[in-house]
């Protein structure tokens, strides 16, 4: 059974946010609008975080950190969900069942990476914008929690295709898998099977530059980062 993971090279990342945008469009995330965004209700399953500026003028430093869901091996969010609306798939993805979610938001406060978003409002796609919705992805109703799925719909489609052709997914096919990965202009992202020691991701994850966010919490994130310089 594969373990899907991602590697993000912070040295290549240019903070352009194409990943955030591709994710939104691919996953039918609606925009919050000025007022709602101002009070922190904008949703970015894949959000680019900008660390605080440090150093002394003019030698200032900050880092852009693209942050998808870490798809932890030990996800704190899954533990606290009272109804199993968020769960771990066999291949280690932390998925959501929007049908079960009761909107208690335990998962949102349990996730140390703040990757989980709550639908405070009904999704907004003023006509005819709804025509651009991705037919492979459900539109989440108001009152439930949603999050990055590593574009599970693309992954499953690719797996089905491979299955028909009687093979397993090739490392080369990964470049088109999650939308954020496919779009990255700096090619700073890599996606693939961490179980396969030969895959690009597992090789990069072993690099001396590799680290993960909040490793100390023992969540075993499946998103690894490569440091700048």
């Amino acid at each position: 059974m594969p373990k899907w993971g991602m590697v993000i090279d912070l040295d290549k990342c240019t903070g352009c946010q194409a990943c955030s945008m591709a994710c939104r469009v691919e996953n039918n995330v609606s925009f919050a609008g000025p007022e709602q965004a101002e009070i922190g209700r904008a949703m970015f399953w894949q959000e680019v975080l900008d660390t605080e500026m440090h150093g002394h003028y003019p030698f200032l430093e900050t880092q852009f950190v693209p942050r998808p869901c870490m798809h932890c091996e030990h996800p704190p969010c899954v533990k606290v969900c009272p109804v199993g609306a968020t769960f771990q798939t066999e291949d280690g993805l932390v998925a959501m069942d929007y049908e079960l979610c009761i909107g208690c938001r335990m998962c949102t406060i349990a996730c140390p990476y703040a990757v989980r978003y709550f639908n405070w409002l009904a999704p907004r796609f003023p006509t005819p914008l709804e025509q651009a919705l991705n037919p492979d992805v459900p539109v989440r109703p108001r009152g439930v929690v949603e999050k990055c799925t590593f574009c599970i719909h693309r992954l499953r489609a690719a797996q089905d295709r491979a299955e028909k052709e009687g093979r397993t997914l090739r490392d080369a096919e990964m470049v088109n898998l999650p939308a954020c990965n496919q779009v990255c202009p700096a090619a700073a992202r890599y996606f693939g099977d961490l179980e396969d020691p030969e895959s690009t991701v597992s090789r990069l994850a072993r690099s001396p530059r590799a680290f993960a966010l909040l490793e100390e919490l023992g969540t075993e994130p499946k998103v690894h980062y490569l440091t700048g310089e």
Partner: protein, 772 residues
């Protein structure tokens, strides 16, 4: 743990959508139903090639179309420009296509100008009405009284507009956004285009205010080049030095940020040259063989631009100047790149020349990792336009905007308001606007308004009602780019010729028409000379005609026996290119290529351009003069720097894309609107706190913005992202942010290039009282 198959997942999808439908208190049932049936897996998905037109980079796209609806945009893997990737703008094209605020049919003004009362009319009516007026202007023998103002027309449409005007017999094809870097390259190398850079092999990138990771184009190519410099060459991480007045995203990602006084970048370049000359670090071979006027130039530089003097001018420490010069000369291949912001100073052209001269000094002209000359695709040239007396007579007239008032200007849009208002030269009968929105993009909207009032006929082709189109008498709405054909040559970057071709990915949503087609229909409707000059029935025919050149060249990525076959293949792939680039210099360089690369009168790189002498220019090398700013230092203590963010698209409707607003300002954490960056200490002295509302006031106007205390700001500058602050243009454009263009004094102009010194404005900043 559960295994969730794609099918069950989609089932969940469907169910959730139903739930959404049932639960929604907002949103119509129809809308909800729509969500449901959209949540079933598509079997008829197709990918259609297109070309992005949300910025001038024109990346190749692939659009996923399901059941006749466009549902996702990806990059076109075959296009060497963006290699299957896009920037954030590229992702939201569908929000333009399916934008609720699009015009749905041609409009005729019924109320007063700008009053906003319109009447939908048929295309035949519209075209006949406009054509009739244009015809009258021609028949009166005053063809020059029609003017066409355009702003960064996509693909080959610029040429089409030029031909249209020429055919109509008017010299007034006016570029609303003239470009200076191509003038610099024209003077020094005889190339009338911007320089390209072979960045993938550059080891030292000396960027003078070049927005490598923000607004510079071609965007995706540059982002890719950045990551390649960093990690594409094991063991050689490259070095990027960002010289600019504000710490931009590029500066953040660069190895070093060198803050500099706005407008003095040229002086710094000359200071670096001084060190390189004095320490004899320059490429003698290149200078001896391929340069003209070097002696004269270097003498002048060595006399006037000692590091001490330059340090005083630029506020860059003397030591830094020396170090940068040595690094630049020592770490080859190195390139010096001048950004767009430098154009927009009163010394823009001279500065760009000074910066580009550095490349010649270290022999980085047309060598791997250096400057390259972007070759255009071998398109079939246009046939000559039909010249009747009216046309000839009209073309012989002086241009309304009078670029000749400046030594090297090709167009001077900022002079139009007076020219039109006074009518001294000749009155303007008709003004056509394509993607030009002077009431928002240009300084002094008042002057523009009173000028527009003087024009009997104003026609706009905007698919949205924006500030200027609101003043039009007729709006003939263009398709959005996903509904029309386009052929776009690559912007200067890779060097070898690339032509991206886009086609309609969906049926037009509304009763709109492709601008190219409308232009042809107008010409034919006007009849006479113009009709003859446009023998093609529609724009696709024009493209097929021009692409014929590629077929005949029988070069590049597509070879085909017949033109039809070639066209089919081109449409299917969405791109043609002819790689690799052949360098003139370097080890395996091809010396014959020099003739093509250096097309100046001397056939050399001209430090002292002979083009100047031809135009009787008194200026002496290196032509640099200190910048002149609008506003006095006493009254207006800050330099205002305008810049463009990655999330700022261009063209009509570009400010009406909600997704882009929502990730607008990453580095200052502000979305949905722009802001003014202030140095924290300075702000403290002014009693301004983060997020306070402040007034930014220049000698010609003032705007209200939220303040952002940003460490990457020099004490004597403030920075404002430009592009927002629309008053019209759609529900997400109007009233979002403030428009700094209106703080610019259009009388401050670069006397050489004729460009308004958009960056040469001084402002004062003070806290806004509650209520005002």
């Amino acid at each position: 743990m559960r295994h969730i198959s794609r099918r069950t997942f989609l089932k969940l999808a469907a169910v959730s959508a139903t739930a959404a439908a049932l639960y929604e208190s907002s949103g119509s049932i129809l809308h909800a139903l729509n969500l449901i049936d959209r949540a079933t897996p598509p079997d008829d998905a197709v990918w259609v090639p297109s070309v992005c037109q949300l910025c001038p980079a024109e990346c190749g796209l692939r659009v996923r179309v399901v059941g006749g609806l466009a549902v996702k945009i990806e990059g076109n893997l075959l296009n060497p420009n963006n290699q299957g990737r896009t920037c954030p703008k590229g992702q939201v094209g569908l929000q333009l296509l399916y934008n609720p605020d699009r015009l749905q049919a041609p409009l005729k003004r019924v109320g007063q100008r700008g009053e906003g009362r319109w009447q939908a009319i048929s295309w035949n009516e519209a075209i006949e009405a406009v054509a009739a007026r244009l015809r009258d202007v021609r028949l009166a023998g005053t063809a020059e009284r029609t003017a066409f103002l355009y702003d960064r027309p996509p693909g080959l449409l610029g040429e089409t507009i030029a031909r249209f005007c020429r055919a109509m017999g008017t010299p007034n094809a006016i570029d609303a956004r003239p470009d200076v870097r191509s003038q610099a390259l024209f003077l020094t190398q005889g190339w009338d285009s911007q320089p390209g850079y072979d960045l993938d092999r550059t080891r030292y990138l000396l960027s003078f205010n070049f927005a490598l990771l923000e607004s510079a184009q071609p965007t995706v190519r540059l982002l890719r080049a950045y990551s390649f410099i960093r990690r594409g060459r094991p063991g050689d991480r490259g070095r990027i030095v960002q010289i600019e007045p504000r710490l931009s995203v590029t500066g953040i990602k660069a190895d070093e940020w060198v803050p500099i006084r706005p407008g003095t970048e040229g002086a710094l370049a000359l200071g670096l040259a001084w060190v390189i000359l004095r320490e004899r670090l320059y490429d003698r071979e290149f200078v001896d063989e391929h340069c003209h006027g070097f002696e004269e130039w270097s003498k002048a530089v060595l006399e006037d631009y000692s590091p001490a003097y330059v340090a005083a001018l630029t506020s860059v420490p003397e030591e830094t100047i020396k170090r940068l010069a040595r690094e630049f000369a020592g770490m080859s291949p190195a390139v010096a790149v001048g950004g767009e912001a430098i154009d927009q100073q009163t010394n823009g052209l001279a500065s760009q020349m000074a910066i580009h001269s550095l490349n010649a000094l270290v022999g980085s002209i047309d060598v791997p990792g250096g400057v390259v000359m972007q070759r255009p695709p071998p398109l079939t040239p246009w046939p000559d336009v039909f010249m009747d007396d009216v046309t000839t007579q009209g073309l012989s007239q002086p241009r309304l905007d009078g670029p000749e008032h400046y030594r090297l200007a090709r167009s001077a849009p900022h002079r139009l308001p007076e020219a039109i208002a006074s009518g001294d030269l000749y009155p303007l009968e008709a003004l056509l606007l394509y993607r030009a929105n002077p009431l928002h993009d240009a300084p002094d909207p008042e002057a523009w308004r009173s000028a527009l009032d003087k024009v009997p006929l104003i026609v706009s082709f905007d698919p949205f009602i924006e500030e200027t189109s609101a003043y039009a008498d007729y709006i003939l709405p263009d398709h959005t780019f996903l509904e029309r054909w386009i052929a776009a040559p690559l912007q200067p970057s890779l060097g070898y010729p690339v032509l991206a071709v886009g086609q309609p990915v969906v049926e037009p949503l509304y009763d709109t028409r492709a601008f190219g087609d409308v232009l042809i229909q107008l010409a034919r409707q006007v009849g006479g000379g113009p009709g003859v000059s446009f023998p093609w029935s529609d724009y696709v025919k024009v493209l097929r005609f021009r692409v014929g050149g590629l077929v005949d060249s029988s070069r590049g990525s597509i070879r085909a026996a017949t033109a039809d076959e070639f066209w089919r293949e081109l449409a299917a792939r969405g791109v043609w290119f002819d790689s690799p680039y052949v360098f003139a210099g370097g080890e395996e360089g091809n010396p014959e290529a020099w003739e093509a690369v250096l097309t100046t009168p001397s056939g050399k790189f001209e430090f002292t351009p002979q083009a100047f002498d031809q135009r009787e220019i008194s200026a002496t090398p290196p032509y640099y003069e200190s910048p002149r700013y609008a506003g006095t230092e006493g009254e207006y203590p800050f330099h205002m720097q305008l810049y463009t963010l990655m999330a700022q698209a261009t063209g009509p409707g570009a400010a009406n894309l909600p997704h882009l607003h929502e990730l607008y300002g990453l580095h200052v954490k502000r979305t949905w609107g722009n802001w003014v960056e202030i140095n924290p200490e300075t702000a403290h002295e002014l009693g301004i706190a983060n997020r306070d509302a402040v007034w930014v006031e220049s000698p010609v106007g003032k705007i209200r913005l939220p303040a952002r205390l940003y460490e990457g700001t020099q004490a004597e500058t403030v920075n404002i992202p430009a592009g927002l602050g629309h008053t019209l243009g759609g529900q997400w454009a109007a009233g979002i942010g403030a428009n700094p263009e209106h703080l610019v004094d259009r009388r401050r102009v670069d006397e050489l290039s004729g460009l308004v010194a958009r960056q040469g404005v001084r402002v004062k900043v003070y806290k806004a009282e509650v209520g005002d």
